[in-house]
Amino acid sequence: MEKDQDKIINDVTSGEYKYGFYSDIETERIPKGLNEDIIRTISRKKGEPDWLLEFRLKSFRHWQTMKMPGWANLKIPPINYQDIIYYAAPKQKASAENLDDIDPELKKTFDKLGIPLEEQKHLTGVAVDAVMDSVSVKTTFKEILAESGIIFCSFSDAVKEYPDLVKRYMGTVVPYTDNFFATLNSAVFSDGSFCYIPKGVRCPMELLTYFRINSANTGQFERTLLVADEESYVSYLEGCTAPMRDENQLHAAIVEIIVENNAEVKYSTVQNWYPGDKEGKGGIFNFVTKRGLCRGENSKISWTQIETGSAITWKYPSCILRGDNSTGEFYSVAVTNHHQQADTGTKMIHIGKNTKSTIVSKGISAGQGQNSYRGLVKVLKNATGARNFSQCDSLLLGDKCGAHTFPYIEVDNQTAIVEHEATTSKIGEDQIFYCNQRGISTEDAVGLIVNGYAREVINKLPMEFAVEAQKLLQISLEGSVG
């Protein structure tokens, strides 16, 4: 009996990470190491203007004075920042206006990942910016979007084509001095997406940026800047995968969102970096700074994240609710299996009057995974009528995993109402029994229960992603029962 179960588990777990392949693409890399010359090289390769190089150097000099933070409930092995390649780009013609210009191997990679670089294919409602290692490979539907005045392109293109916009907004939400990893990113960031939605425009399709790490020994440092002008709306998605490797790779990204009066941004992430093998070897270190600023009145930011990948996740998508009546939302499902660790949550800073925030966090720990929710709800003195509701639940599968909750609530205004609730419990044996009784195997029953548990969050995702996320949850947890 036990043997059978082991066999089933083995079968399932061996196929667990289906994006772990490596594509043999001709890649241009720079030497390992981090110093001012490297930064100059990156900047030169990207043909950047002087002001950006200055920004990078300023960040680098500041970074040298900083120490890696140790407060997270994570065990992070020492990272040698000199042993990382900070720039790796697939060799191809400067800009691939035509699909035929793209390296077929590269195209094949994205096809395999289910990300269409051809327009008019099955995911027609989605415009894609595909980023491989340090550069953006192709942005689809650029023209259609441009008709309504929407700018959606790689960050490098934006620097060349819209320097004023980039200059005006970059670093306003996440300053270069923000934290260790954000400062590192500010110094060495390679590519990312830039998106500008003009006044009164409702973006007609979902925008997707897909990040792929391919090269070995490289770190990925992308930077995304999203600006939603007055009365606009955009739904933005982010996906990521990486090949299976024994060594750890660093991913330190920045996402900045600026939302003006009456605008709304919905930002969804399905994070599926390689989580390392069952022994905890390899995997991506995902140290990301994401922050949105509700600058205008009645503005809204909604973060949704499904975190199933990465060996270590350190990520706190936050909302600064500065405009009156602005709203911040955070929906998260974080799964840790095997030796994965996650310290994730959000910050809701209430500055404007009548600002509202909602936090729903669902943690699932299995194997020897350690899952922490860490969140801050801060109501400043003038934030009259602020309202927050937080709920963070943890589900434990197995007796070697851990679930932790570290909420911080700081209230400085008497009219504020802040509520926080959290529960931690084991998966219900009676629920599993109920399913077993009806002929559903334990494995499937767990999948079913977990999906039901995470439904509240998954429902917030756009349809195609929701289906993907459900499958991903099941795969991530396979092999955790028994």
């Binding site: 407060w71 409930n73 003195k381 943890s394 434990l396 599968l397 197995g398 007796d399 070697k400 995993c401 851990g402 679930a403 932790h404 909750t405 570290f406 909420p407 911080y408 609530i409 700081e410 209230v411 400085d412 205004n413 008497q414 009219t415 504020a416 109402i417 802040v418 509520e419 926080h420 609730e421 959290a422 529960t423 931690t424 419990s425 084991k426």
Partner: protein, 452 residues
């Protein structure tokens, strides 16, 4: 940083200057901890806001103050302490009075109660009951990374010792009255040890009062050992003036099937920080920690609770409530830590706060750290105002707004008070809370200082 080390240096010097006088009243065993503790204090220093457990409490105003002299009692002090009478009528208890952390009598320093219970001075007991002290002293408060606990171990003057032998149940509570009175600003540190052996039961009431308007700082450590199947309740009533700083650390070590509760009621005080640690060191242990804080003016009240589930099938419950008025600030930091093998744990935590003015501030940090899977844990925290619907309901029945607000606040506070098992004290507390909420209790009930 410089300021930091200079500050630690000053306390180190205070230690150097007074250690001879402190040590001569104490036993060699207790003295043997002092040198190492002051070294550790030197490394850790006074906690700052960078220290995660002191994140919301700034100790600077008290610790930057220079406390020149180290208090040593003289005969006339004792007389004054004798005069003090507790104003809780009907409270029938075995009383102990401590003056500035010292045991203010010369003759009757150790008393025996029926059943072989000993209550009295820790210094005296350490000379008489060497082996009991050696078994328990500094065993439960040892490994903490809090510099102030080490400072206390190094400089502890005297304190209360209670020993309850196996199988003895003391019906009448023991009441410890901590008085502080001095012409000059003083810093006092007392240390208590309570040992409750198997199948025993005792209730301890600790009342804190200030009698003179000078600046006081108290840094007290209480260690409690609760044996198998034993029952222990500690109720702390804090009523001090606005210029007093009170830092307490209570470490409760619980054995199998024991039941312990702690209740911190803070009515008044300049800066109050209570840290309570429950270590559930045996299967089936139960712990309850309650707290109520009513703060106004520039007061600051911080409660830190740490419940550690080290063995399976233990239960713990935390309930802390606060009402903050004027410019008062409050902090709550609750932590439930469930060890890997502590299956079958049930742990609950709740913190509710009401802010009455725009200048009041509340920071709360309820934390769960869970390394076992068969657990039921929950925590909840709220910060808000009185329920408008409830207020409307009362008003619609002809109760005026002021009265309705009072009733609601009283009801809010009573949820904590009702857990006090000593009836006379419970009634008195209800009474005091009501007065406090009405604003009638602007100074400590028995205080001559008009700091209010």
């Amino acid at each position: 940083m410089n300021n930091q080390s200079e500050r630690s240096e000053r306390y180190y010097n205070l230690y150097k200057e007074n250690i001879k006088r402190i040590a001569e009243n104490s036993s060699p065993y207790i003295n043997s901890f002092r040198e190492e503790a002051i070294e550790k204090f030197g490394q850790l220093g006074i906690p700052t806001r960078e220290n995660e457990t002191y994140r919301y409490t700034n100790l600077d105003t008290f610790f930057n103050h220079e406390f020149k002299s180290y208090f040593m009692p003289v005969a006339s002090d004792f007389a004054r302490a004798e005069e003090f009478r507790c104003d809780v009528t009907d409270l029938d208890a075995h009383g102990i009075v401590l003056l500035n952390g010292f045991y203010p009598t010369i003759t009757d320093k150790l008393r025996q109660l029926p059943g072989g219970i000993w209550i009295g001075s820790l210094n005296e007991a350490s000379k008489k009951f060497g082996e009991k002290i050696e078994k328990h002293y500094a065993k439960y408060a040892g490994s903490d990374s809090d510099g102030l606990v080490h400072l206390n171990t190094a400089m502890a003057s005297d304190g209360v010792f209670i020993y309850v032998p196996e199988g003895v149940v003391l019906k009448k509570p023991v009441q410890v009255i901590n008085l502080v009175q001095s012409e000059e600003d003083i810093f006092n540190q007392h240390r208590s040890l309570i040992v409750v052996e198997k199948n025993a039961e005792i209730t301890l009431i600790i009342c804190d009062h200030t009698l003179s308007p000078t600046k006081f700082l108290t840094n007290a450590v209480t260690e409690v050992y609760v044996g198998e199947n034993s029952h222990f309740d500690i109720i702390r009533v804090q009523n001090e003036h606005n210029n007093a700083g009170k830092i307490t650390h209570t470490f409760i070590h619980q054995e199998r099937n024991s039941n312990a509760s702690s209740n911190n009621i803070t009515l008044h005080g300049g800066l109050v920080r209570n840290s309570t640690h429950h270590f559930l060191g045996g299967e089936g242990a139960e712990s309850y920690s309650y707290g109520l804080y009513l703060a106004d003016k520039f007061q600051h009240v911080d409660n830190y609770v740490n419940v550690e589930h080290a063995y399976p099938n233990c239960t713990s419950n935390q309930l802390f409530k606060g009402v903050l008025d004027d410019m008062a600030t409050g902090a709550f930091n609750g932590r439930i830590y469930v060890h890997k093998d502590a299956q079958g744990t049930m742990a609950y935590q709740k913190n509710n706060n009401i802010l009455l003015t725009d200048d009041a501030k509340m920071d709360t940090k309820p934390q769960l750290e869970i390394y076992a899977d068969d657990v039921k844990c929950s925590h909840g925290a709220t910060v808000g105002q009185l329920d408008d619907d409830a207020l409307f309901y009362l008003q619609s029945r002809g109760i005026n707004k002021r009265e309705a607000r009072l009733m609601l606040m009283f009801g809010f506070a009573h949820e904590v008070i009702q857990n006090i098992k000593v009836e006379a004290l419970r009634e008195r507390m209800d009474n005091l809370v009501m007065q406090r909420l009405r604003g009638e209790l602007s100074r400590c009930a028995s205080c001559m200082v008009k700091c209010g």
